[in-house]
């Protein structure tokens, strides 16, 4: 019986991706007469879907390679990574509303705190002056236009 190794799991995911990629290739609009041309907008997607499926099947049926010694991932570190990505998402959502200096300062303070920094002085000094200097550098020195916070006009 085939056991579900990391490789095979990746293979199954890629097979599904290739099949759905091929399925949606049919939605690509063609110009009139394109069907009679040797190469049109759907050609490469169909070939790639076929090649991708073939390679995925090859990976699924091939002998599993011995896994290399890796440091096991701890749940805490995975949560840390997800937390940082969530903060990045929050950064993108709050940037237009709170403006560059405030969003950057808050993002940095929250990230430092998430990664274990608890000294208040360090949290503030490594974020607020950095955000202000970077913002001044962008707007005053490099003359990059950065939209002001929308909240100020509410």
């Amino acid at each position: 019986m085939i056991s579900l190794t990391k490789d095979r799991f990746g293979g199954v995911l890629f097979l599904l991706l290739s099949l759905s990629y091929g399925y949606y290739a049919a939605d690509i609009p063609l110009l009139p007469g394109d069907k009679f041309e040797p190469f049109h907008a759907q050609t490469l997607p169909y070939w790639l879907a076929g090649l991708g499926s073939f390679l995925a099947l090859l990976l699924i049926v091939s002998k599993a390679t011995p896994s290399t010694q890796e440091t096991p991932l701890s749940r805490a570190n995975v949560s840390l990574m997800l937390g940082l990505l969530a903060l990045t998402l929050l950064f993108s959502l709050s940037l237009p509303w709170l403006g560059f200096p405030a969003t950057t300062s808050l993002f940095l303070i929250a990230s430092y705190w998430l990664l274990g920094e608890r000294r208040l002085k360090m949290l503030v000094l490594a974020s607020v002056p950095f955000a202000l200097i970077f913002w001044l550098l962008l707007t005053e020195v490099l003359e990059v236009y950065i939209a002001p916070a929308r909240i100020l006009y509410w």
């Binding site: 990391k6 490789d7 799991f9 990746g10 890629f14 991706l17 990629y21 949606y24 690509i28 609009p29 063609l30 110009l31 394109d34 041309e37 040797p38 190469f39 049109h40 907008a41 050609t43 490469l44 997607p45 790639l48 090649l51 991708g52 390679l55 995925a56 090859l58 990976l59 091939s62 390679t65 011995p66 896994s67 290399t68 440091t71 991932l73 701890s74 570190n77 840390l80 990574m81 940082l84 990505l85 990045t88 998402l89 950064f91 993108s92 959502l93 940037l95 237009p96 950057t104 940095l108 990230s111 430092y112 990664l115 920094e117 360090m122 490594a126 950095f130 962008l138 990059v144 939209a147």
Partner: protein
């Protein structure tokens, strides 16, 4: 050729471009030192900055960062046994034991001299080989280009290591799939946009590079817990004397010369790159060393440090040959540079030599300056630069994340790009955990558009028949090499397993 060379020299000697070399080397050294972040991440982090510069200055800055990162990787390999990138992994074999014997200064100096010589010899060979290859490749047709791209994509997969070939090919296909998102380059038909206006122009190269190589690398470092406990390891080591004795120089000089030429040749091969060059050079030196010295390998042999250091720098230079002359990147890092050049509206390849001789030559000439900067400025400053490593990781990592996302935002001023970036980072982290290599994906993505255009042209010219693959001797030769490269790993594996079965004692 001389006109172009002088124009390139004048461009490279412009004070601003010299400054870019210095800044690039410093920034690269620092980023390259950070465990987990290698030349690809360092160059990716520089892309947003280069968008504000003219093409020559931008590419010069990137080349400086590339060298600096390779050098920085060697420094952390020697000082804290943590290679900054894969190509400096071999440096730890003998570099760290030397540091443990209180010879860290000597090891760093030797690494710098070897890197300088490797880079210089590589740059000299490049000056002569690149124009020759560029003039030959002027006669290339669409079919040849298509075959060449196939060769580039195949060899990146083939050289990706044991058990990784299929996965690397899958990632190449995945990169090609991502490249098809957006309006079709030939007919303008929307593909895989699902009605989203933000996807009409396709996935941004900068966004993909930053998400997969800068942001995902930091996330992996955090997830593997490498930031914990590394603070102590990153404390600067007291460096001893940086002087090498006359006998030591005599011992390593032939090694450096051999490894430089060898490294350059390996670097030219698309997909092989600096990592394979450093491993092969180390193996070669160990095999040809007299038994007395062979025993020292792995315990602090000077030859064992000089060989990979000169080979990886020469290979970095060599990887510019296919990029500048054929428009096909030889490594992940040069793939990012190719993307940056395309973003400037410059198409690397044989026409680059004719249409933009200033870019072509200034890059080659600035490589030499880059090596000089690393030797003259960086080496004495290493004790001070390495102190930057003492910045606590809980402060450093959020700053790297910030620079990655703000780099993408400052190009498009669209916060939706940051959200896509988070999604791609999550996907890249998942793929990395499943041991899928990322460089082939980026290569596939960058070459996708060109590959489709050339394939379409070749098929239209040959009326839908694939005989263009064997009609011209040149195309046929490239196709044959591609097939050999594709089959080689399987053949070698087969031979090895047969040998293992017959000669078990030998293994």
């Amino acid at each position: 050729m001389l006109d172009g060379m002088f124009s390139g020299l004048a461009t490279a000697l412009m004070p601003f471009n010299l400054l870019m070399v210095v800044v690039g080397c410093f920034a690269g050294t620092f980023i390259g030192m950070l465990p987990g972040l290698g030349p690809i991440s360092a160059v990716a982090l520089m892309i947003p900055i280069t968008y504000t510069l003219d093409p020559s200055s931008g590419i010069i800055l990137m080349a400086g960062v590339y060298y600096g990162a390779v050098f920085g990787g060697s420094t952390s390999s020697i000082l804290i046994n943590a290679p900054g990138c894969a190509s400096t992994l071999v440096t730890t074999f003998d570099g760290y034991p030397l540091a443990q014997k209180n010879q860290a200064g000597k090891a760093l100096a030797l690494a710098a001299y070897a890197s300088f010589t490797g880079g210089t010899i590589g740059a000299i060979i490049l000056i002569f080989t690149a124009p020759a290859l560029a003039s030959v490749s002027l006669s290339f047709q669409s079919a040849d280009y298509f075959a060449l791209m196939l060769l580039g994509l195949t060899s990146v997969a083939a050289f990706s290591g044991k058990g990784q070939v299929i996965k690397a090919m899958m990632m190449t296909v995945f990169g090609l799939m991502i490249a098809t998102v957006g309006n079709d380059v030939i007919t303008g038909a929307p593909r895989y946009t699902f009605g989203a206006l933000d996807l009409v122009d396709g996935v941004s190269f900068l966004l993909l590079a930053m998400a997969t190589f800068a942001l995902a690398e930091v996330m992996m470092t955090i997830m593997r817990g490498q930031m914990h406990g590394s603070e102590q390891a990153m404390q600067p080591v007291a460096l001893s004397s940086m002087k090498l004795s006359r006998d030591e120089v005599k011992e390593v000089a032939p090694t450096i010369a051999r490894s430089s030429v060898f490294g350059f040749v390996v670097g030219v091969l698309p997909g092989a790159g600096a990592t394979i060059a450093s491993f092969l050079a180390y193996g070669l030196e160990r095999n040809i060393a007299p038994p007395r010295l062979r025993k020292m390998f792995g315990k602090g042999a000077l030859r064992g440090l000089a060989a990979p250091e000169s080979a990886n720098n020469a290979a970095s230079t060599g990887s510019f040959v296919p990029l500048l002359t054929l428009g096909i990147p030889g490594s992940g890092t040069t793939a990012i540079m190719l993307g940056a050049l395309i973003a400037y509206g410059i198409q690397p390849g044989p026409r680059l030599y004719l249409d933009h001789p200033d870019v072509f030559w200034s890059v080659i000439i600035s490589m030499y300056f880059g090596n000089l900067v690393l030797l003259v400025l960086n080496l004495p400053l290493i004790p001070y630069i390495s102190r930057l490593l003492a910045i606590p990781p809980q402060i450093l990592n959020p700053l790297i994340i910030f620079f990655s996302i703000i780099g993408v935002y400052l190009v498009s001023f669209n916060t939706f790009d940051i959200q896509i970036m988070v999604f791609i980072t999550l996907l890249a982290v998942g793929l990395k955990l499943l041991n899928f290599p990322m460089a082939p994906m980026l290569l596939g993505f960058i070459l996708g558009g060109m590959l489709e255009k050339n394939l379409s042209r070749a098929l239209v010219v040959s009326d839908g028949s694939f005989d263009f693959l064997w009609q011209r001797p040149l195309t046929f030769s490239i196709v044959c090499i591609t097939v050999v490269i594709l089959v080689l790993p399987w053949l070698l594996g087969l031979v090895k397993s047969r040998l293992k079965a017959t000669l078990p004692a030998a293994y």
